[in-house]
């Protein structure tokens, strides 16, 4: 079955496109791209008044499968992704058991083919058991389908281990993604260290804990001349270090989450555990700096760090709740509403952050672009659509979303993966 998307405003930074075009999709690929396409035997989608972009890619998702399927699984995470406008998600390795061996990687790839409505690419562990000691069989894991490496949830604390990982991964052409946190400085912490934490009597996690590790990582990236990606960057100092490293021409990049761009440590005053996340929601000063980074191009990617937890786990004393919040079904609308609608970033820059750059960093050659021959992964946006976030309508199994009840303008109204409509508003 062919698909013909008519009269959409096609925005694709990869090819420099921003014009009204028709897109013909055939056999999962983009077959034709022209101002006017007539086709018989094609399902026609009227995209006039809609924006058509390359399918969004979330580099940072916790699927919870294998091991914690009561929080999320491959099928539900994929549904949530589709509902949120993502066509591709990357599965972080900290499952139970962790994705540190070919068996788990292959399981994810094969189960995703059977049960997921979006593309799922595994991010394998850097070290066995995420213990930060011995490297995983990286080449083997790549062959099985890993697109990047990360011990996310844990930093690679030993500098020599990270150095070897960076060196080794270079010949594989894969990205090393580090979770930057000095665990000694954050021990027992539950929120950002600052005025709010002192006021609330909660143990803080200083920005320095992230910045110190970012500084070390960037120095190691320079030493090894390898590519390094910083997961969930959240600090002003870390951003400044990244800016300097980029000026030097290092192959470094970073992602930032929607929640770090719009929420601050003030949210913790409610002691509501849905705001407990690692890295913690920072102060307004840090948040503003991140928005600057979003505007000036220092930040490469927006990723959700979608981290599902059950209500029983989150509905407890703040100190006792696990870290993490879900973001797949709100990310697009949050960024559209708070940054694109307000002209803080352009629509083109938004697409770069959500599709172009993630595809480039992960080496997904047929994704992140709208061109003849590319995979027919597309996201259709309605920028005028207003709605209220309601977690009860989420496809995710979990409800730990800090944006419940928010009124937002702009949403993904259709998600197309490999030429198939997987979500329609």
């Amino acid at each position: 079955m062919k698909l013909l998307i008519k009269n959409g405003r096609v925005i694709d930074p990869a090819t420099g496109t921003d014009e009204t075009l028709d897109i013909l999709i055939s056999e999962g690929k983009i077959a034709s791209l022209n101002p006017r396409i007539e086709a018989t035997e094609a399902e026609v989608i009227d995209a006039s008044r809609l924006v058509v972009t390359p399918g969004f890619i979330d580099m940072h998702v916790h699927l919870r499968e294998p091991g914690e399927e009561h929080k999320e699984d491959i099928a539900s995470a994929a549904q949530a992704a589709a509902r949120g406008g993502f066509t591709t998600i990357c599965a972080m390795a900290n499952t139970k058991p962790p994705n540190d061996n070919r068996g788990v990687t292959e399981y994810l790839v094969s189960e995703a083919k059977k049960r997921a409505v979006v593309n799922i690419f595994p991010v394998a562990a850097i070290t066995r058991g995420l213990a930060g000691q011995e490297l995983t069989d990286m080449a083997d894991l790549c062959e099985a389908g890993a697109v990047a490496f990360s011990d996310d949830g844990q930093p690679v604390a030993n500098s020599l281990v990270l150095r070897r990982a960076l060196e080794y991964a270079r010949f594989l052409g894969k990205l090393i993604i580090d979770h930057c946190e000095d665990k000694n400085l954050t021990e027992d912490g539950v929120m950002h260290e600052g005025e709010m934490a002192y006021r609330l009597g909660l143990k803080g996690m200083p920005a320095a804990a992230e910045e110190i590790v970012i500084a070390r990582d960037l120095i190691l990236a320079e030493l090894t001349r390898s590519r390094l990606h910083l997961a969930h960057l959240s600090t002003k100092g870390g951003l400044e270090l990244l800016r300097q490293a980029k000026k030097k021409g290092l192959g470094v990049s970073a992602e930032v989450t929607p929640h770090h761009l719009v929420l601050t440590d003030e949210c913790l005053a409610s002691y509501n555990a849905n705001f407990k996340v690692n890295p913690p929601l920072r102060s307004e000063e840090h948040r503003r700096a991140l928005v600057e980074g979003l505007k000036d191009g220092t930040i490469d990617v927006i990723a959700t760090d979608h981290a599902p937890h059950t209500e029983e786990e989150k509905d407890v004393e703040l100190d006792r709740a696990p870290f993490g919040l879900i973001g797949l079904e709100t990310a697009v609308s949050i960024i559209l509403d708070r940054f694109v609608q307000k002209n803080i970033i352009s629509l083109e820059r938004f697409v770069q952050l959500m599709a172009t750059k993630p595809a480039e960093l992960l080496g997904l050659k047929n994704k992140g672009r709208i061109a003849v021959g590319a995979d027919a992964d597309l996201t259709l946006l309605n920028l005028r659509k207003e709605f209220t976030v309601d977690v009860n309508h989420f496809a995710s199994k979990s409800r730990n979303c800090p944006f419940n009840g928010w009124k937002l303008k702009g949403m993904a109204v259709m998600t197309i993966v490999g030429g198939k409509i997987v979500y329609r508003f």
């Binding site: 009597g201 909660l202 002691y271 029983e312 407890v316 004393e317 703040l318």
Partner: protein, 318 residues
């Protein structure tokens, strides 16, 4: 059941001093003054809260505060149940929410909550129907302690404006220090926080505190000296190098006490580490009001229970 507010007090819960204004604090202190008289009678009981059920919900060990609330409730004729961690279902893995809901199913009117996690009473207040009284949450607040401290200060100093109050010790982890800082600033006193820099973050100056790292400076000209308990576990986490060094720098000794005003009073929320944060002799001296604080605790807690549970609800029941 719709929340009913006492006509004199617009809060449904007492979670912290931060959300009270000076007038509300004075209302509590004035009410406590009339309650204090009850404890001096031969029959120390009035029927004011007859038929009300108060639960002491203590997830952390406490003798003073728990007994104080228990006696306060009893002197107002409320029924009180003690629920402590060891004897509870919590050890069987029950969640805090379930514990509270089960207690509430027994038609409780007020929950007096002590918990090691900051914000636990706020969390409970977010879903329960009873009045919640914070009896100390983590490192956050201990409002009734600050109120009884204020009551005691007023007894001896007759005023708050212009008083110099030095609070000495582990400020970082102290709920007593936070509640007292808020309260004393609202009533116009000058507050000096003192301790090693690792335990006295400069951020406390945002709430109007002066910060001193030298005990001698903090004590100079002080009207009130409030010593806090120093926990030995803090030493293991490297907040200070040794108990010996802490004592050398921050123990309230006779010699140091001379730096304060002649009529300065010494306070301590207890329990005391004699010989570590305060010389034993000073703790028992005439200028020590430590036992007065304990006595006043009952009056202040009676006032809090009365202001939250009395009023309209009682009238409606009559």
């Amino acid at each position: 059941m719709s929340p009913e507010f006492s006509p004199q007090f617009r809060h449904y819960h007492l979670l912290g001093i931060e959300e009270l204004d000076a007038a509300e604090i004075m209302t509590i202190l004035d009410t406590a003054a009339s309650m204090a008289e009850i404890s001096e009678r031969e029959i120390k009981k009035v029927p004011t809260l007859r038929g009300k059920t108060v639960v002491n919900l203590f997830f952390e060990p406490s003798t003073r505060t728990r007994s104080s609330f228990e006696l306060a409730a009893k002197r107002l004729s409320a029924d009180i149940v003690n629920f402590s961690l060891q004897a509870s279902s919590v050890v069987k893995g029950e969640s805090l929410k379930d514990t509270v809901r089960n207690l509430e199913a027994m038609a409780t009117d007020a929950l007096v909550v002590r918990h090691s996690c900051s914000g636990a009473p706020h969390y409970i207040a977010s879903f329960c129907r009873s009045h919640v009284i914070n009896a100390g949450d983590g490192s956050h607040e201990h409002p009734t302690q600050a109120l009884l401290d204020a009551f005691t200060i007023r007894q001896f100093k007759k005023r708050f404006k212009g008083l110099k109050v030095a609070i000495v010790g582990d400020i970082l982890h102290s709920r007593v220090a936070r509640s007292n800082l808020y309260l004393l600033r609202k009533l116009g006193a000058e507050v000096v926080l003192c301790g090693p820099p690792s335990l006295v973050p400069s951020e406390f100056s945002f709430w109007g505190a002066k910060i001193e790292y030298k005990l001698e400076e903090a004590l100079a000209g002080a009207d009130v000296i409030m010593m806090l308990r120093i926990q030995r576990e803090r030493q293991k986490a490297n907040f200070f190098p040794s108990v010996r060094e802490y004592r050398n720098l921050y123990c309230l000794t006779e010699a140091r006490f001379k730096l304060a005003k002649k009529d300065a009073i010494i306070m301590h929320p207890g329990p005391i580490n004699r010989g570590i944060e305060i010389d034993s002799g000073l703790a028992d001296s005439v200028q020590s009001v430590i036992l007065k604080q304990v006595a006043n605790g009952i009056a202040v807690r009676m006032a809090v229970l009365y202001l939250l549970l009395g009023g309209k609800e009682r009238e409606a029941a009559d």
